[in-house]
């Protein structure tokens, strides 16, 4: 089977400081990969490089495109990369304000990606928006309200709907439950797990919260100081950590 | 009975005649001469030259007279005239180190070579209306001193010699010309400075003030403010050497700003720069602060979202001729557009009312 995404030696420096160094892995269709580590470990830098938001100093990110098979994402012309970013890929930000248009209605937020790829039937766009609001448990009568009027958890669910409406195959998530209350987190995780299974999504989830990866991720990558220190199946890494740092992380001695 | 509007031409001519009458005011009062405006309203003349981008005190005075003292209107007259002038060539960069200073102060050193020269400043006047001026008496004679024989060294050059301030390496690239090319972003520093020096004084002042109050703060000290005359020289290809074509008065402000550095890179102060035609120190200081704020990217600072850090925002809105034109144009007829919105609003109201009626039934 062809991996959906391959990272090969991805390296990013900020001046003298290493963001992430020589990271390589394969992600297969339908697989969810968790990247854990404390803040400053390079996990967010790596995610930005993979999603094309940052240009790495070295390395390749190869994605199995629908039309042309595996392509080096960093070498794609900008229009194609941006098209990928709003069709086949999704990016869920930690802060929903970074991923939503706060000035337009929930319906327009969900519909934007559809319109960006050519949907021109108002009624159908609205139908899909209603459908997606339902799937993320937002009442359809909130469709014309702006996200400002929503709670933090609702905003995050709206962001997820907005991202998944075009049926992407790969979702990048940056601390998707960060900043939410514990009870709200649980509901969101439940929802995410359901959607991932139901749509057969592949995902890369960056988090410092081991509960998130235990629920969502098939595999785990542990990062420290810009480098990957341990990888493996989630249960294996969490139940039998090999690297000293992972052991600290799992035993929660380390404040993360 | 409605009659289509005719006679626009007659109305315009009559309005212009009336304007000329109002400009003159009461004919019993002696008419202002251009020389009077040039000599006695010199700071207004300086502002018109600076923002009109044309160094000609007589034309600036004429523009002020024609504009009834409305300085933005006067600047507009100068700009419109300037754009018709042929571009014969470019001067050499002026050497402000060789300036014959009327005023030169530093806020960073108590004393220094060349000394602090207060010059003709309002700084320590008490702002009490001077009723003696209403009596049109001659002022007291000011004391005089022999002109300085040697050029006055620049304050920032002392810091530069010790590596204490960020070095500004000379650059021989021809800067882009704001009046000959469209302004496109990102704009380099030469272009930003060009734009700032002719930007509206009030706008630049407001932007600079906002940085002092925390919107893009950059901890400025006035390293040096100098006002005086410099020579303008031009390379004449037929002659093969530079000749002096005249002398202009400039105000230059160099600020010493918050330092950068790290454990490995020695700390250094940073610079802001202002240079404006004539005695225009409020503008020059403001310009230096805004220049510094706009340099956040090259100096590795954070974009705090402050208006003065946003080059597109500052450069696109600082020109008072553009601003006043677009602002005032909304008084021109817009009845076609208004009509189209009127129809739309009526239609939407009808739809909403019939919706309410249906809901009620």
């Amino acid at each position: 089977m062809t991996p959906l995404l391959q990272a090969k030696g991805v390296t990013k420096r900020y001046g003298a400081r290493l963001g992430c160094g020589d990271v390589s892995f394969d992600l297969y269709p339908g697989e969810v990969m968790g990247i854990v580590g404390e803040s400053g470990s390079g996990k967010s830098t790596l995610l930005s490089c993979l999603a094309g938001h940052l240009v790495p100093d070295a390395g390749k990110v190869i994605y199995d495109t629908r039309a042309q098979g595996p392509r080096d994402v960093l070498a794609l012309p900008e229009p194609e990369r941006r098209m990928l970013g709003r069709t086949d890929w999704a990016f869920v930000h930690q802060n929903p304000r970074d991923g939503l248009r706060m000035g337009v209605s929930a319906g327009a937020n969900v519909g934007e990606r559809l319109m960006a790829v050519g949907a021109r039937h108002y009624g159908q766009i609205r139908e899909q928006a209603v459908d997606w609001l339902g799937r993320v448990e937002i009442a359809p009568d909130r469709i014309d309200d702006r996200p400002r009027a929503f709670s933090g958890g609702m905003q995050q669910r709206l962001q997820i709907a907005r991202n998944l409406v075009t049926g992407p195959r790969l979702v990048f998530m940056d601390e998707p439950t960060g900043g939410l209350d514990v009870s709200v987190q649980a509901r969101l995780l439940d929802l995410l797990r359901g959607l991932v299974r139901e749509m057969g999504l592949s995902a890369i989830v960056v988090t410092h919260d081991l509960a998130v990866v235990r629920l969502l991720a098939d595999r785990l990558m542990v990062m420290k100081d810009g480098a990957v220190v341990e990888t493996g199946l989630t249960d294996q890494v969490l139940d039998d950590p090999q690297h000293g740092y992972t052991q600290l992380l799992v035993s929660s001695v380390l404040q993360v | 009975m409605y009659v289509a509007v005719k006679g626009g031409e007659r109305a315009i001519d009559a309005a212009h005649d009336w304007l000329a009458e109002e400009r003159r005011g009461d004919p019993q009062t002696p008419e202002l001469s251009i020389a009077q405006i040039r000599e006695q309203m010199s700071l207004a003349v300086n502002r018109v030259m600076a923002e009109g981008s044309l160094y000609d005190p007589d034309l600036a005075a004429l523009a002020i007279k024609q504009a009834r003292g409305d300085l933005i209107e006067a600047i507009f007259l100068i700009r419109a005239y300037r754009t018709t002038l042929p571009r014969i060539g470019h001067s050499r960069p002026v050497d402000t180190a060789a300036m014959r200073c009327d005023r030169r102060i530093s806020a960073t050193f108590k004393d220094l070579p060349g000394g602090q020269v207060l010059g003709p400043t309002f700084d320590y006047t008490h702002r009490l209306l001077d009723f003696a001026l209403a009596a049109e008496g001659a002022p007291a004679q000011a004391a005089s001193a022999p002109p300085a024989s040697a050029p006055v060294p620049r304050v920032l050059d002392f810091l530069d010699a010790d590596g204490l301030i960020q070095n500004e390496p000379p650059c021989d690239d021809a800067p882009r010309d704001l009046t000959r090319e469209p302004l496109e972003f990102p704009a380099d520093r030469a272009l930003r400075l060009q734009s700032l020096t002719r930007s509206d004084e009030g706008f630049v002042l407001g932007m600079a003030y906002s940085t002092q109050r925390g919107y893009g703060r950059n901890h400025p000290f006035v390293g040096e403010l100098r006002i005086g005359a410099v020579e303008v020289t031009m390379d004449i290809p037929e002659l093969g050497f530079d000749i002096c074509i005249g002398e202009i008065t400039l105000t230059e402000c160099e600020t010493v700003n918050q330092f950068t550095g790290s454990k490995t890179q020695p700390a250094q102060f940073t610079r802001g720069y202002g240079l404006v035609f004539g005695q225009t120190e409020r503008k020059a200081i403001s310009m230096a602060l805004v220049d510094r704020a706009l340099r956040w990217e090259e100096l590795g600072e954070d974009d705090t979202g402050a208006p003065a850090q946003d080059a597109e925002f500052v450069l696109a809105h600082g020109d008072n001729i553009q601003a006043t034109g677009f602002l005032e144009h909304i008084k021109l007829p817009h009845y076609v557009d208004f009509q189209s919105e009127l129809e739309l609003v009526r239609r939407m109201r009808r739809a909403a009312q019939s919706g309410m009626k249906e809901a009620a039934e």
């Binding site: 709003r86 327009a108 319109m115 021109r120 | 419109a80 042929p86 034109g325 005032e328 557009d337």
Partner: protein, 290 residues
């Protein structure tokens, strides 16, 4: 035609500047709907009064041209008079009020009712050339959006209109797509005029303050943005002209008495006068009119 004021170059601008503008115009015609940056000059009239249109007109005028200038559809509005006088003085060209007689028409906010023909040039005065400006204020970002054809945001705006108002609530400066590529602001013409953007004439758009020129070559395909189930509707006041009886022209609404009484008249004064001369009458025509 009279001689032009010898103190100024023909049509005011110097020849170098005209060449610069013509280069921008040619580029604009070659890439319909694309905004070409140009080094707009400071004109002896304020920004906002049509400096972009005036520069384009100056660059296109020849001594043989016949010029018509309209503002809000009328030849007699003060700014139209002022611009026409400017070119009479600086270019000495013939002027006319008749659309059919003009070789070059400068306009603000309207397209003449009389269909334009091949060989005519229509010059628009444009205040804000960027159709995405009020969705995204940053020039660097809007230029990228055009380059990558990212127009989803434009449709978000139209979607919001319908969601909140029941219809697309843009009444003028209604955005269009040119030849399936660039989204363009047709200047603040009422949306009633949008269908006339597909024309036999050359259409040139000048934005002086914003330093942009763009163009529509003859017979260029111009579609107004809409949704399949909310198609574009070039609406107008539901009245006939009270002077010439025309039921298909764009109308001005005039308040005629203290009680708020209204009448509707053609905004295109030349068109209306022409119809009246042909004997057409409206509700308020004087019956004895010859």
């Amino acid at each position: 035609m009279t001689a032009h004021d010898p103190n100024y170059n023909f049509a005011y601008l110097d020849e170098q500047t005209k060449r610069m503008i013509r280069r921008a115009l040619l580029k604009a015609l070659a890439i319909p709907g694309y905004q070409v940056p140009f080094a707009s000059r400071e004109m002896p009239m304020p920004y906002g009064w049509g400096t972009g249109g005036v520069q384009v007109t100056a660059a296109c005028l020849t001594p043989e041209d016949t010029l018509k200038v309209i503002d809000q559809g009328a030849d007699d509005t003060t700014n139209a008079v002022s611009i026409r006088k400017f070119f009479e003085r600086t270019a000495g060209v013939a002027v006319t009020g008749h659309t059919a007689e003009a070789s070059l028409i400068q306009t603000r906010h309207r397209i003449p009712e009389t269909p334009l023909t091949e060989g005519q040039i229509l010059v628009y005065q444009v205040p804000i050339p960027e159709p995405l400006r009020f969705l995204e204020p940053r020039e660097t970002e809007t230029r990228r959006m055009h380059a990558l054809e990212e127009y989803g945001l434009m449709y978000v705006k139209l979607y919001e209109d319908i969601a909140h108002n029941g219809e697309i609530s843009t009444a003028y400066a209604y955005p269009v797509r040119v030849e399936g590529r660039y989204v363009m602001d047709p200047s603040p013409i009422p949306r009633f005029d949008n269908p006339k953007l597909e024309s036999a004439a050359i259409q040139l758009f000048g934005a002086g303050r914003e330093q942009r020129i763009y163009a529509l070559p003859p017979y260029c395909r111009v579609t107004s943005l809409d949704f399949e189930d909310h198609p574009f509707d070039p609406s107008k006041a539901d009245h006939d002209c009270d002077l010439c009886g025309c039921g298909t022209s764009y109308l001005d609404e005039v308040i005629v008495d203290d009680a708020g009484g209204r009448m509707f008249v053609c905004s295109d004064t030349d068109f209306c006068a022409g119809r009246q001369a042909e004997g057409h009458q409206g509700r308020l025509s004087r019956k004895e009119t010859a």
